[in-house]
Each structure stands twice: as structure tokens, then as C-alpha cells.
């Protein structure tokens, strides 16, 4: 009888650890061998010795933290390839979260566990779509693990932004969005909607946009916002990290409409307290329906939840006839990437 994943996957202070393979997944502190689901700062941390991830994730890690801190040795694993480490067969399959984001598939002595990392099921022109695969244990995130979170169509939210640009043609529209993933998805969605004006970028967003373009994702006419003159930005669209839109950086903008693109914008109080004038509910995380659908699609009798609103999703998974428990990993989901 194949060994239950709870006998070979354990939670340690450094993170989720695969014992027979002797590696961690998205470890929270420097380790000897790490497999990284995606390059967001809370999952991809600096200072590991050997790092295994998709080529895109590795490239983003190098761009963000420098070659030295992105792992002493980096090993890319392409989709469709299998790497066996001490009897554990490892595959990376798309998670649909951001460029390069993958689920980690582990097969050990006939038993299979899949760690989702962060994921979504919606179409995203900037990354490969989530791939469901049957398994014995599915380790899922639950950032939006409450039934109040049902993300609207991203295209409708983009239409809201474009309508506002039309209604306030004199005002700069500044959208707070996370540098990795959200920014590029937003730009790609705007281009899909026919917006072909230049888009101005805060300095912190430029490097990753260039990297996306190098991976063959065209983003159109992008210009630095920092050196643009006030008048040029009137009626224009500016993207900046969430921390910058309501702070001193934004003072260079003339009477801006402050927008933010995040799944949290669903909750009015969140948007209000952030001083957001135009909330855009666009998320790179699965909403409640996607979480529930994925539980069915993965055909796993057992669900482990890493981070987010665990309690509600455990309750729901139990109603759906699954065994479910929280791993209580501390340290994920602490940025604004939602």
C-alpha cells in the first residue's frame, strides 16, 4: 500500500518539507535545497543553496534579488520533464498565477501530492493556465477562502477603468498594482481591450515588464512615470506599487484618480480605508468558486490548506466529503499581491 503523504511531507519551522527527497517547497528561511512555486517575495526567498523552479521563476528571482542571492546553483525544470530526487519524482505544472508559476507534483512510492503554490483558474494572457491533475493530497492556498469572494470578470473591471478615463479626461489615473504579475496582466488586459495609449510606470515596475517582454509577452508602449512631466500625465494611465499610490510619490500627479487592482477591493471597507477612489476587483488568486472547483478537479480525497481563510474552506471541503486540515504555515500572503 502506498505511503500516505503525511508520512513523507512534514511542516517544519522552515516550511513544508519532503523527507525522502530532502527538499523544502517555498521555504521561509535559507535551506540546502528548495523548490520554488513562483517568484513572489513571500514564496521565493533569498539565500538558498540549490534552487529548482521553472526557467521563468528563476529568471525573475535573479532579476529581483541578484544572481548571488537567488540560489548558489539554479536548476530549471521544464514542463513535461520529470526530475527524480531520492525516489521522489518531481514535475512542475502550470498554476496560472503569474509568469512561471507552477504547482509541484511529487510522486513517491505510488502516492502523489501536489502543492499548488498560489493559483487562479481565470484566463490570463501573461501566463500558462492552471492544469488540474488527480492526486492523493492537494495542498492549496485559501487567500480568498470565503464565499463572499467571487471575482467579477476582469474585462468588466478594465471597462470600468476605461470608462473612468473617459469621464475624467483631465485627471491622471494611477492604479496600485503589485510589480510581479498584476502589473503585466493589467497592461495585457488593457491592450486586449484596445487601449493603445502609452502606459506610464513607477520605477519599481519597469524591470519586470522588460523581463516579461523578453519572455515573449508584448506590453506595448511603456514609459517611465518618474521623469514624465505633470502635464503629459494628465488623462494618462500610471501604474505604481500599492504603497506608492497614496503616498508622497503620488504628489507628482495632478488631482489623480486613485485606483487599485486587487481581490480585496471586493470589500468596501478595505477600499475605503485605503483611500481608493476606483477599486478594481482583479485578482491573481482563485476566488471561492475556483477553490471549490479545483478541489473537485484534483480528485483528491484529502485537502491541506497552507494560508488564507482556512476555516471556511476546511468546512466547505468537509461538506464536499474531503478530509481537510490547515498546515498553518506562517509567512505567506503578507504582501499586496492579492
Amino acid at each position: 500500500m502506498p505511503p500516505h503523504p503525511e508520512t513523507w511531507l512534514r511542516v517544519r519551522p522552515a516550511g513544508l518539507y519532503c523527507e525522502p527527497g530532502d527538499f523544502y517547497i517555498d521555504p521561509l528561511r535559507p535551506v540546502e535545497r528548495a523548490i520554488i512555486t513562483h517568484a513572489h517575495a513571500d514564496h521565493a526567498r533569498p539565500g538558498h543553496n540549490r534552487v529548482l523552479a521553472s526557467a521563468e521563476t528563476l529568471a525573475i528571482m535573479r532579476a529581483r534579488m541578484g544572481v548571488e542571492r537567488a540560489g548558489t546553483s539554479q536548476q530549471p525544470l521544464a514542463q513535461g520533464e520529470t526530475l527524480t530526487i531520492n525516489d521522489v519524482a518531481i514535475q512542475l505544472i502550470p498554476a496560472g498565477h503569474v509568469l512561471g508559476s507552477c504547482q509541484i507534483v511529487m510522486d513517491f512510492q505510488g502516492s502523489r501530492a501536489i502543492v499548488s503554490g498560489d493559483y487562479k483558474r481565470r484566463a490570463d494572457p501573461t501566463c500558462s493556465a492552471f492544469m488540474p491533475l488527480p492526486c492523493d493530497v492537494f495542498v492549496t492556498e485559501a487567500t480568498f477562502g470565503l464565499p463572499v469572494f467571487r471575482h467579477p470578470n476582469a474585462t468588466d473591471e478594465i471597462a470600468k477603468l476605461l470608462a473612468s478615463l473617459k469621464l475624467f479626461p483631465e485627471r491622471t489615473h494611477v492604479v496600485g498594482c503589485y510589480a510581479l504579475g498584476k502589473t503585466q496582466r493589467l497592461i495585457a488586459l488593457l491592450r486586449q481591450a484596445g487601449y493603445d495609449q502609452p502606459i506610464y510606470l513607477h520605477g519599481a515596475l519597469q524591470k519586470l515588464c522588460a523581463l516579461y517582454e523578453n519572455f515573449g509577452i508584448p506590453l506595448g508602449d511603456l514609459r517611465p512615470a518618474t521623469i514624465a512631466v505633470r502635464a503629459e500625465l494628465r488623462g494618462a494611465l500610471v501604474l505604481a506599487p500599492p504603497s506608492a499610490i497614496a503616498d508622497r510619490w503620488a504628489r507628482r500627479l495632478d488631482d489623480p484618480v486613485t485606483a487599485a487592482a486587487s481581490g480585496w477591493m471586493r470589500i468596501r471597507q478595505r477600499a475605503k480605508s485605503g483611500g481608493i477612489e476606483l477599486p478594481l476587483i482583479i485578482s491573481d488568486h482563485a476566488d471561492w468558486d475556483e477553490l471549490c472547483t479545483t478541489i473537485i478537479d484534483m480528485q483528491a480525497p484529502e485537502i491541506w490548506i497552507t494560508h488564507g481563510n482556512e476555516e471556511a474552506l476546511i468546512h466547505q471541503a468537509t461538506l464536499m466529503g474531503r478530509r481537510a486540515r490547515a498546515l498553518r504555515l506562517i509567512g505567506y500572503g503578507e504582501d499586496d499581491a492579492a
Binding site: 464565499p147 484618480v257 471586493r266
Partner: protein, 538 residues
């Protein structure tokens, strides 16, 4: 309903007045009748849905959701209507009901059938429409814009001002077709005929030092400026109404006033609480405001009166074009003829020179008086603030030197600045917060304070920063009142920052004892020397 829900959502998040007007204007210019008219009625609070209750909706939601998930969600969201709207498992195709459909259908639906109807509407809607729908039906609709702003936006479509709408507003009813027909140039302006409509009020400019030097004092008449609320009392063959300065119909709150108005006229005056001829503090008047149905006891405890200072219609005759002096004569004659109880005339203050008035004004600090009014004897009654016609000459504010304790970021244009300040005074060795101010400084001062606050933060509580106790702010305010609700026991009225006292070290700031003595000052003042004649009781 969907466009209205979208409008409400954007108004909720938009801090700027101009942005709100742009949103409202866009909505009213592009939404068809009668939808926009019902939206306007919803904003005016003129739609009532007695059949729909919050409990009904709660039960509907409970029937369709898992109780554990609902409880966890409500706990997270914090607002019941929003929780229901978000968790509602919308099943039908997106086809939200229109506002006219909601109004018409509910009017013809038996109470027992309402839940089924609501469930169907919620099924056909998206979350933002559901929130608006639930709040509208249960009476919890809070619009992020005043009715006045909606009127401003509608008037703008025809390049008019809000006052042009005010003059006919109270003769109109939902869905206001004649209003929109007129605004869009299809019909002439609706005639309010004999309806008791509100007339736009005439307002005064603050008198600044530079105006004082050039003023032709002999052309002006002086009255006290009262610390009550400005009202307009309208009585026509079509009915009697009491309006606030902003055209809100407050008749229901003041049955005692309404009962006394028997003769036709449109009168301008101040609503005050007065006992035995002595005007009570503004605090007392507040007990009577926003009460839909004041009890007999409340009416007796806080007796209101109106101090009249102008007449707009004498009987049915429009006298607004007459000079102020002539209107005053007409007002006195009207008053002498009808002698309405609980009303009196605002006395004119005889004076020969500016010095007489300046002396009066500087000592004017008693309950119910906040300064002087100067009105040109030859001025017609015009809406808005015509230049040099009426002046308000407020007494100098009281001041306290306080220490900046906490700072919070502002909203809108000021969202990147720490612009809201909590300040305190010394109570022995510690500082006690005494008030909060977010105005009075220049842009340069704001930038300086913002930088200083960021560099001298000692603790953070969410959006609030506690700062080193170093900056002394000279705070101006109109009055200090005893308040058991405040930690310091004192509430300041209209506090604002007069200047930043860079010359003063924090330990030399004022004490709580000094602050309390300012409350005392008001009470100790001999009212007899200042107060105008007491209201006539007949």
C-alpha cells in the same frame, strides 16, 4: 438599477466635490426617464418600502447559505447588507430589475409575497446592484453625495445653478418628469403655482480687515448674528413648510412652529431654543434637530422660537426685489398684524460709528450670539452671496495653545499628507487630548508638518501616528462646552489651527484648567448687557 448602483458605488469612493458632480451629471444626462427620476427620489429619501425588512433579507440569505460560512463571512465583512449581497449565490441570468420596476412592483405586492420577489431580484443582480437594492429597500441607503449636489449636477446640464431647481423643487414629485423635460429644453420651467416651495436664500460674506477700511458704514444696518440654524418658513394657500438653509423640509421636526404659522408669507429667520427669553446654547437646539417626531416632553424641554429677520413674500406678493429697508418695514407690519406666538423680530442695533459696532462685536460672546450682521439698506433679496450686500462679522475666536499628539492622513487630495491632527493640553505632567482639527494651515505649513510627523513618529495605531510631544499649535474655536463624552470633559466648537507656534516650547502650552476657564467665561458673561430684547411672548 445597475447604472444607479454603479453611480452609488463611485460616489461612495470619490472624495472630491467636482468628481461627484461629474459622476452625477453623467448619470442624469445619460439615464432615461423614469429611472433617473426614481434615482433622484431615492437620493431625496422620498422612496419608502414598508414591506421589505432587514429581517426578511437575513432569513432569505440564511435559507440559501450554510450557516457556518455565513457567520464567518459576516464576521469578515462586518456589514450585513454587504455580506448578503456578496454571499448570495446568484443563479439566474444577469438581468437586474430597473428602479421603476422595483417601485411599481413593490407597490402592488402583498407583504407575504415580498420575500419571493426579493429573492428573484437578488438572483438576477450582481453584487453591487444587490448591495444597493438591499440598502434601498431596507432604508439604509446612504448616498455619498447630498441632494443639493444632485440638483447642482442636474442644473449644470442646462447651464443653470442649483437654486434654479430649489425654487420649484418642493412642488415636484417623483419621478420628476417636468423637471427633466425643462432641463432638457422640451418644456418651460414648471410653475410651482401656490405650492409652498423653498426660495433660495441670501447669504453673507465674512467681513475681513481689508473690507472694514473701505466700508461705507452709513449704508448698512446692524443685527446680531445668532448661533442657531437659518430657516425659511413658508406658508401659502398650498400649505405650510419649514425649510433649512439647504432646502431640507424639516417641518415634521417642529410641529410647535408649524402650529403657530397661520398667515401667508415666506419668512427668513433663525431657529433657536429659548427659555423665558434667554437663548439656550446651540447644544440644546441640537436635541431638537433630526427628530422626525419630537415628543411633547421634548418640545416642552427644548422650546423653539424663530427670530425673524426678513420677508420674501408678504401674503402672496413677492417682495424680494424691494430694498432691505422697505422689506424690514413690511416685515414689521406683517408681524404687528399677525402676532404669531413663539416668533419675534431680530432687533436692529442702532449705531453711529464703526467703533460702536466693533466694541459690541468684540464682547459678543453669549449663548446664541456669535457676532454681528451688516446688511445694506438698499439691497434686494438675491440668492447666493451677492458682493457687498450682506456681511457677517463674527466675534474673534477663543484660542488655546495645544500640543500636537497624533496625526492621521487626510482624504482625497490630502491622502498623502498627515493632515488631521489631534492635540491636547497639559493635565499636570501628562497631555489630555482636547480636540481634532484639519484646517487652518497653509499648504506650506502642511508640507512642513507632514515631514516633521514622518520623522518624529513614536508609535503607530493603524492609520494613526503618535508623535513626539514637541509642536505647539495655536487652536482657534468658537466656543468651549462641557462634554461628558470627551476624555478631557470639554468639547471645542469648530476648532481650527490658527498658527504653528514655533516660538513656544511644548511645556509652555496651555493647561486643562485654562481650557476649563474658557467654558466658565461664557457662562459668567453678563447676558443682560449683550442680549437683544427677549422674544415677545403673547
Amino acid at each position: 438599477m445597475k447604472p444607479f448602483a454603479d453611480l452609488l458605488e463611485r460616489l461612495l469612493y470619490s472624495p472630491g466635490r467636482l468628481a461627484k458632480i461629474a459622476l452625477l451629471r453623467d448619470y442624469f444626462a445619460t439615464t432615461p426617464d423614469p429611472d433617473r427620476g426614481y434615482a433622484l427620489a431615492a437620493m431625496a429619501g422620498a422612496l419608502r418600502f414598508p414591506g421589505a425588512k432587514a429581517a426578511t433579507l437575513r432569513k432569505l440569505a440564511a435559507d440559501r447559505t450554510d450557516p457556518t460560512l455565513f457567520a464567518l463571512s459576516y464576521d469578515f465583512v462586518g456589514d450585513l447588507a454587504e455580506t448578503i449581497a456578496l454571499i448570495w449565490p446568484g443563479s439566474a441570468a444577469f438581468q437586474p430589475p430597473s428602479l421603476p420596476e422595483i417601485v411599481d412592483t413593490l407597490a402592488g405586492t402583498k407583504r407575504d409575497d415580498v420575500p419571493v420577489l426579493l429573492a428573484d431580484w437578488l438572483d438576477r443582480s450582481d453584487p453591487s446592484t444587490r448591495i444597493a437594492l438591499i440598502k434601498l429597500l431596507t432604508g439604509g441607503l446612504r448616498v455619498g453625495a447630498s441632494l443639493r449636489l444632485a440638483k447642482t449636477a442636474i442644473a449644470e446640464i442646462a447651464a443653470l445653478g442649483a437654486d434654479d431647481i430649489e425654487e420649484i423643487w418642493h412642488g415636484l414629485e417623483a419621478p420628476y418628469l417636468p423637471l427633466f423635460n425643462w432641463i432638457e429644453g422640451r418644456t418651460p420651467r414648471p410653475d410651482p403655482a401656490s405650492a409652498p416651495v423653498f426660495r433660495p436664500v441670501m447669504l453673507a460674506h465674512p467681513l475681513e480687515a481689508r473690507d472694514i477700511a473701505t466700508l461705507d458704514w452709513s449704508a448698512y444696518r446692524a443685527e446680531y448674528k445668532y448661533d442657531g440654524i437659518r430657516i425659511q418658513l413658508v406658508s401659502t394657500p398650498g400649505g405650510t413648510r419649514l425649510y433649512s438653509r439647504t432646502a431640507d423640509d424639516i417641518s415634521a421636526s417642529f410641529p410647535d412652529i408649524m402650529a403657530n404659522m397661520k398667515a401667508h408669507a415666506v419668512l427668513d429667520g433663525e431657529l433657536l431654543v429659548a427659555r423665558h427669553g434667554v437663548i439656550a446654547p446651540f447644544n440644546d437646539l441640537q436635541q431638537r434637530l433630526n427628530r422626525k417626531k419630537p415628543s411633547a416632553k421634548l418640545q416642552q424641554q427644548y422650546p423653539v422660537c424663530i427670530r425673524l429677520y426678513d420677508i420674501l413674500f408678504d401674503g402672496t406678493e413677492d417682495v424680494r426685489a424691494l430694498p432691505f429697508d422697505t422689506r424690514r418695514t413690511r416685515l414689521e407690519a406683517w408681524y404687528a398684524t399677525h402676532t404669531p406666538p413663539a416668533m419675534d423680530l431680530s432687533p436692529q442695533i442702532p449705531f453711529t460709528a464703526e467703533a460702536d459696532l466693533a466694541a459690541l462685536r468684540s464682547t459678543a460672546r453669549t449663548d446664541g450670539i456669535e457676532g454681528l450682521m451688516l446688511k445694506r439698506g438698499d439691497s434686494a433679496y438675491l440668492p447666493g452671496r451677492p458682493r457687498a450686500a450682506w456681511w457677517k462679522w463674527k466675534r474673534d475666536p477663543l484660542t488655546l495653545d495645544c500640543v500636537l499628539m497624533y496625526a492621521q492622513r487626510g482624504h482625497g487630495r490630502r491622502s498623502s499628507f498627515y493632515s488631521d491632527y489631534t492635540f491636547g493640553v497639559w493635565d499636570n505632567e501628562t497631555l489630555t487630548p482636547i480636540g481634532k482639527a484639519y484646517s487652518g494651515y497653509t499648504d506650506d505649513e502642511l508640507t512642513t508638518l507632514d515631514q516633521w510627523i514622518r520623522a518624529h513618529t513614536t508609535a503607530r495605531f493603524g492609520p494613526v501616528r503618535e508623535v513626539e510631544k514637541h509642536i505647539v499649535l495655536e487652536i482657534a474655536f468658537d466656543a468651549a462646552q462641557i462634554s461628558p463624552r470627551h476624555k478631557s470633559g470639554i468639547a471645542l466648537r469648530f476648532p481650527r489651527i490658527l498658527r504653528i507656534r514655533t516660538d513656544k516650547p511644548a511645556h509652555e502650552a496651555d493647561t486643562i484648567a485654562t481650557a476649563r476657564s474658557l467654558v466658565g467665561l461664557e457662562a459668567k458673561q453678563d447676558q443682560g448687557t449683550l442680549s437683544p430684547e427677549t422674544p415677545a411672548r403673547r
